[in-house]
């Protein structure tokens, strides 16, 4: 295999190659460190490369293999994390200038679990400042500048897990950990053509992660195959004494022939190329699943409920930043004042939104109950261009329903897998939603889809 072939292999394959001693973890780590140096800045994907830590962990992994002590299927596999996860060895910037020099002297639970599994931390990856909590509207809302999708540098890699998306797509890491409060794994997975899994709320500990919205923050894998996401999730999941929300819930067996519903109106007001790719995906799903069309998406004021809850929780999380006036140090003009705007959130609206959320939770679970999963185009459009305001872009394709927000409000898991390419050579995604704790069903459907397609194995040309 060439270095290029190795760099673009999925984590499952890399783990097997290391186990078989066909390549050492250190060799692989050096390949990725070189690629991070060469391409990381080009795609606005990297904040800090952890050379010393990576090489030390890789050498330890190789020594363990030599002694027959392989810790897991991810043993020796190099990876990166969104720069909102605390890790020893470098700053944790939260993608934002006010926290440029922030240092934590401990590893977040996710990083600690991956370390225990023998994985090798390569780098802290870029993100939208404060994970977008203050309401950015442009791709450059980040300490490291605009994230760019490796498929076309003129277009955004997505947010807020911009770096994990771009780094996985460009073969700069074996896999990555992103986070999602509302779309931050699904969107960059769509824009970068990678496989992303947003777990059930509570599946993965947030200890050591930046808090944005305690009742919706989730950490999850972004990788080059659906099967990888399942493997990574099992490694990082489980109860944690440092995070009361984290549970050790069982991973239920997936149905052999799943019942899949298509969310009604999910193709309405979407870009025609996105619709065409989605329809082709449905033809493939019919090969291994029973499909039901037009599953109604219940009507609720999702945007208003989510926005109200986010405003209250985000303003609380960043109260020190707002009160000190340091939020003006943020890059985006919208973010400089976003915290001040959130202070206008009324307590009565917050409480009503929490009450609406309880109703939304029930309604969404009722919608999914007859099915193993529901599907929709991950996003109604391809990636936004870098430069113009998002609110001025693709205004004719706003999407008719918003299953990303409704599912996040209900705390249920979702996956996005690449399902084709469209305008400007940009990827599109197939969104899959399952009921709480049913991530194995998502992985099974994503894997079955990828066993019949090759979109996830395509490589962008990095010399553009």
């Amino acid at each position: 295999m060439t270095h290029e072939d190795l760099a673009f292999s999925d984590a499952t394959t890399l783990g097997k190659l290391i186990a078989a001693k066909k390549i050492s973890s250190l060799e692989l780590t050096n390949i990725y460190l070189d690629r991070l140096e060469r391409y990381g800045a080009k795609f606005g994907a990297v904040v800090t490369i952890l050379h010393d830590r990576a090489r030390a962990e890789a050498q330890a992994a190789d020594q363990a293999v030599a002694h027959g002590n392989r810790s897991s299927a991810l043993h020796g596999v190099p990876y990166g994390v969104k720069d909102l996860l605390a890790a020893i060895g470098g700053p944790t910037t939260w993608g934002a200038a006010p926290y440029r020099n922030q240092i934590f002297d401990y590893d977040s639970t996710v990083v600690a679990r991956l370390r225990a599994a023998g994985a090798v931390l390569l780098a802290k990856l870029s993100m939208v400042e404060l994970a977008g909590g203050f309401g950015y509207d442009q791709a450059d809302a980040s300490l490291t500048g605009p994230g760019r999708t490796p498929w076309n540098r003129a277009y955004w890699s997505g947010g807020s897990s911009s770096g994990p998306g771009a780094a996985v797509a460009a073969g700069l890491v074996g896999f990555a950990i992103g986070s999602e409060t509302n779309g931050s794994i699904m969107n960059p997975s769509n824009n970068c053509g990678v496989s992303g899994l947003r777990p059930t709320f509570g599946r993965v500990s947030r200890y050591g992660a930046m808090a944005l919205m305690w009742t919706s923050d989730k950490l999850g894998p972004m990788a080059r195959s659906a099967r990888d996401t399942g493997l990574i999730l099992r490694t990082i999941a489980g109860a944690d004494p440092h995070d009361a929300s984290a549970k050790s819930a069982p991973f239920r067996t997936a149905s052999a022939r799943p019942r899949i519903g298509i969310i009604a109106k999910s193709m309405d007001k979407a870009q025609p190329s996105v619709v065409a790719n989605f329809k082709r995906s449905l033809d493939i799903l019919r090969d291994f699943a029973d499909i039901t069309e037009d599953v109604p998406h219940p009507e609720f004021p999702y945007g208003e409920v989510f926005g109200t809850l986010l405003s209250g929780e985000c303003a609380s999380a960043f109260r020190d930043l707002i009160d000190s006036g340091r939020s003006k140090m943020l890059h985006s003009p919208d973010d400089k004042i976003g915290g001040h705007e959130q202070y206008a959130t009324l307590a009565v609206d917050f409480v009503d939104s929490m009450r609406q959320r309880a109703k939304i939770d029930k309604a969404i679970r009722r919608m999914i109950a007859p099915f193993d999963a529901l599907v929709h185009p991950t996003q109604p459009t391809v990636a936004y261009p870098v430069g113009p305001r998002f609110s001025k872009t693709y205004t004719q394709w706003p999407g008719a329903v918003d299953p990303v927000t409704s599912a996040n409000l209900a705390g249920i898991p979702a996956m996005s897998v690449p399902n084709g390419f469209a305008e400007h050579g940009l990827p599109t995604g197939l969104g899959i939603i399952a009921n709480a704790w049913r991530e194995p069903q998502l992985v099974a459907i994503g894997s079955a889809y990828q066993s019949r397609t090759s979109f996830h194995t395509r490589r962008p040309t990095l010399q553009q």
């Binding site: 994970a131 977008g132 909590g133 203050f134 309401g135 950015y136 509207d137 807020s160 897990s161 409060t181 509302n182 779309g183 931050s184 794994i185 699904m186 969107n187 059930t200 709320f201 929300s245 004021p301 945007g303 208003e304 409920v305 926005g307 986010l310 405003s311 707002i322 006036g325 003006k328 919208d334 004042i337 705007e341 959130q342 202070y343 959130t345 009324l346 609206d349 009503d352 929490m354 009450r355 609406q356 309880a358 109703k359 109604p380 305001r389 998002f390 609110s391 693709y394 205004t395 394709w397 706003p398 999407g399 008719a400 329903v401 918003d402 990303v404 927000t405 705390g411 709480a436 704790w437």
Partner: protein
């Protein structure tokens, strides 16, 4: 999310272009901030005295939109409807 985005419509990640579109509609319908919204915006100078008149104007517009959300998030609620408690995800 956006020059016309309002705090109540913001979302981490890219919530949805739909929410941006809604914010546009709301902003166009009522471009002038109310006196109460302006007053509340001016109070933010307590935290950041360097806020510019344009920033204060934008905050005031956002305040008005934030305060319009009430009827939408209250609609359909009945006296017995609970809050999501600690937001435990059940089976």
């Amino acid at each position: 999310m956006g020059s016309t985005r309002k705090a109540f419509l913001t979302a981490a990640g890219i919530a949805a272009t739909t929410t941006v579109a809604k914010a546009e509609t709301i902003a166009k319908a009522d471009p002038a901030p109310s006196p109460a919204a302006i007053e509340f915006a001016n109070r933010m100078r307590r935290f950041d005295p360097s806020l510019t008149p344009q920033q204060l104007h934008d905050i005031a517009k956002s305040n008005d939109d934030t305060w319009k959300v009430g009827p939408k998030v209250h609609k359909g609620l009945e006296n017995g409807d609970p809050m999501s408690p600690a937001f435990e995800i059940g089976e």
